[in-house]
Symmetry: C2
Subunit: 580 residues, 2 copies
Amino acid sequence: MLFSKFYVPTLKETPAEAEVISHKLLLRAGMIRKLTSGIYTYMPLGLRAINKVANIVREEMNRAGAQEISMPMVQPADLWQESERWDFYGKELLRLKDRNGRDYCLGPTHEEVITDLVRGEVRSYRQLPINLYQIQTKFRDEIRPRFGLMRGREFIMKDAYSFDKDDEGVNASYQAMYDAYERIFTRLGLEFRAVSADSGAIGGSFSHEFMVLADTGEDTLAVCTSCSYAANLEKAETKPQPMCTQTCAAYEQVTTPGKHTVEDVAGFLAVSTTQVIKTLLFDVDGKSVAVLLRGDREVNDVKLKNLLGATNVELATPEQVVAWTGAPVGFAGPVGLSVDAIYADHEIAAGTDFVCGANAADAHLVHVDPRRDITLSTDAAPMGYADLRSITLDDPCPACGGSLTMPKGIEVGHVFKLGTKYSKSMNATFLDENGKEQVLIMGCYGIGVSRVVAASIEQNNDANGMIFPPSIAPFEVNILAMSTKDEKVMTMGREIHDWLEGQGIDTLFDDRDERPGVKFNEADLLGSPMQIVIGGKGLERGVLEAKNRKTGEKRELSVADWRNAILEWRKEVMKEWGLA
Amino acid sequence: MLFSKFYVPTLKETPAEAEVISHKLLLRAGMIRKLTSGIYTYMPLGLRAINKVANIVREEMNRAGAQEISMPMVQPADLWQESERWDFYGKELLRLKDRNGRDYCLGPTHEEVITDLVRGEVRSYRQLPINLYQIQTKFRDEIRPRFGLMRGREFIMKDAYSFDKDDEGVNASYQAMYDAYERIFTRLGLEFRAVSADSGAIGGSFSHEFMVLADTGEDTLAVCTSCSYAANLEKAETKPQPMCTQTCAAYEQVTTPGKHTVEDVAGFLAVSTTQVIKTLLFDVDGKSVAVLLRGDREVNDVKLKNLLGATNVELATPEQVVAWTGAPVGFAGPVGLSVDAIYADHEIAAGTDFVCGANAADAHLVHVDPRRDITLSTDAAPMGYADLRSITLDDPCPACGGSLTMPKGIEVGHVFKLGTKYSKSMNATFLDENGKEQVLIMGCYGIGVSRVVAASIEQNNDANGMIFPPSIAPFEVNILAMSTKDEKVMTMGREIHDWLEGQGIDTLFDDRDERPGVKFNEADLLGSPMQIVIGGKGLERGVLEAKNRKTGEKRELSVADWRNAILEWRKEVMKEWGLA
């Protein structure tokens, strides 16, 4: 592609609307333009990057035996009523009426449509398994669309749906998709992790999120340095320690004037924060619930919610704390506390001689032995102890006991064993080997195609702009002609451009009548992994200048043997991206 | 592709919902499935055909210098209010509100969005011309969605928009798109015509429709057998004949008891229907208007509407006829008629001695001379005469005087010089060579991508199924293995399949364990242009059987030299489709 014929409306200044780096750079590089909140036009350069991602996704889905279809964006309400999501799906589901007053929604996902399709086609186990996918525009009316392509309202997604006759089948379908996702993100040249996204996680998990690692990611992961364990922080299990076998002196109340926080109390009483019981009070679906943690730990809301099968978990208001404990905030404690339920994290069982609030102003208890002095609720957790805190770098890997790292990540894919959630409510059945009617077993598998482009930028950028992996780069090679007036330079540029394009290597030839500085800056901004600079002086010396956008490394390539020189250099660049 | 691994849910019976042949066959061949009225899922085979069309469209758009982008489907109302289409666009525009109550619509077309985009980017004439296109899903809430992919509500369209600085520029952009469209429909292997779709048609027209010829088409064309003239029937001009220079005896009233129709009156008075003036009464935006035609002609509503710049043209009700003429229906005539306006077709000026209604029950006038006896309205047409009838096979070509044919067609593309309609109302301007602000001049260019697939089936089918041109066929070659138990047959089939796919020729290998009859029938139904049958007996004789789906011609290809034999035969098949 000749730059002079290609529409790339770059911006010198970063638009104020952009908060994260990918959003800023996508706007500056003229890859996207905002139409309205969370809704973007993909410009020529942006569409190229999206299509690169989509094509790799398509190839690997096809290789895994999935078949491409395309489902409608406008979906009738009656299907969503059948699956019972019409009422339960929140405001993210954009509902509308047609000219005849019939209800529809814009598809945020396609479980209903695919289940309706397949129940109309599949009669017998002999037609199974089936895996159908699409790469299509979705709409989710996000409450706070932001970060450009990271969290838009209209976006491009690959969604696949598998249908199997039994558990063995769905497990195989799931594994095939998991493997395809590993190939996809590997081929895309991204650093990623597949993390367990199920609370019954280790071993036989049936939900994994694929995370692109980036310091700016919204998710935190727990990743083992020894084994393959990786989980979302919200889901990573902590390993229970052996229960403490000792006890301590009888508890007594001490005065702790104005000591509200764990740190204050520990300091005042000259104990470690690990010896303080933190008592957190929650309103769980209208009930008063106390959660006990070691003083240095953070509660994990998701684990609490899952433990209690709750819908709403909210920290108690100061008024509730006063009403429930009879004391101001900062002095709640579990001994003699009269709330609907009390649960403790496993670590509380592993210790004794704790300090905790006394449910009285300016007072704490010392010498508290949990097993002796605290009455826990045993309805939801054995003996009242459960995993209620977030994992930390101090914790051992829950799988192998090794040590953990906690990188940040951006979720770009999700594989999920749905089971019969939709097929049951929508009556999608087949006849098994014995002629008996059975419910189809489903899996669903998504990749945020447009988000992958943003995530790749979040992972790979510097002060000068984007740094694209060769497989996502709109143009793998950017040729910069230093002088458009030098016919030798232009001839060489065109020759290299035409030859590379002929080799199937997408190449942008900057043939514009612009100063070298402008071209260097824009080449860095646009982020092609390979830059080839052609200057009159270099040609006289018989060399081209090559720059690896990722490493910044520069070298000279021989003009005499430029085809081989470029291909050899390309192999090295590819290797740095982990690509063959 | 192996048929055994490909999801093609064919139907033995034609679903009752389908009216036209393409709809029936698309359903029977498992290419589409209905989700709800006018909204379809594209199944694997259907999506392949759509992508074949889309790719050819894309290649030719790129070749013509247009650049691909992708605009959102959900569009904010404020842009449509700026262009003043929010109120004027009828119920086809599906309006909706987001979670915050803001108004949006689903894009039926993208003039507003593209004009908004370009006005934000273009500052100077140096940035022009620009031509941006997309291949994208559109939504039009049709009052009566029907005919499968022919008139759906959600459909795939290519829409391009050009922006130029002056008239010369837009004409060049228009011509480039016109030429690209000719290349596209030629490469698609379709019989088509570009027809003038503008009333100021001949010569310098700025709107053309591209029609795929098919007996089942909803549009009628007027096509010259001598010159390149082609127009939509609604728009084809009739050539005025020389004005009659003679007159006739004074008119007189005669009794015509119960003779309401032109044929009855002509028979009763023993004159030709060409000597009768047909007087048609219309309610045009609330005014009474009479239109005079020769008795054997049909009025053309579109021409009348355009002549008067009217919004609503409706035939008068019987009550209006009685009120306006003082006579029952069937006896209206122009002599002494007191309506708001009277216009006559040119042919009325070319004759004399006419018969017409007398505005009295059971009475007509004879010996009527239009120029002497009828007072026409001269406000909208010179002397009151205009082109008000539809062209017929009797008429000469308005361009060269040659003779016409009138084939049926399906509109699949439209090129249109928009001018400043949107750029003016939306204030999309640029600075010209003199630093003066000017309004951008636009063109828009559409192709109904999914409709093209349906139109190709309407044009090419027989009792057994679809007959796809090689460039649209989901699979160009269909290999039929006559026995899956014969390892020689299967080996040969796989070898041919793999080799053809390696040549970039999409091939379906029917490796299913089905009877030959089933395979023959489905191969005809699915419509690959080339069928290759591999049987055990044929292999013993050293031959493969080849069938040209279009002509039905069968031949034997030598196994010994099968690669060349297939390629040679393919050249012949291509030639029959007009493809190189």
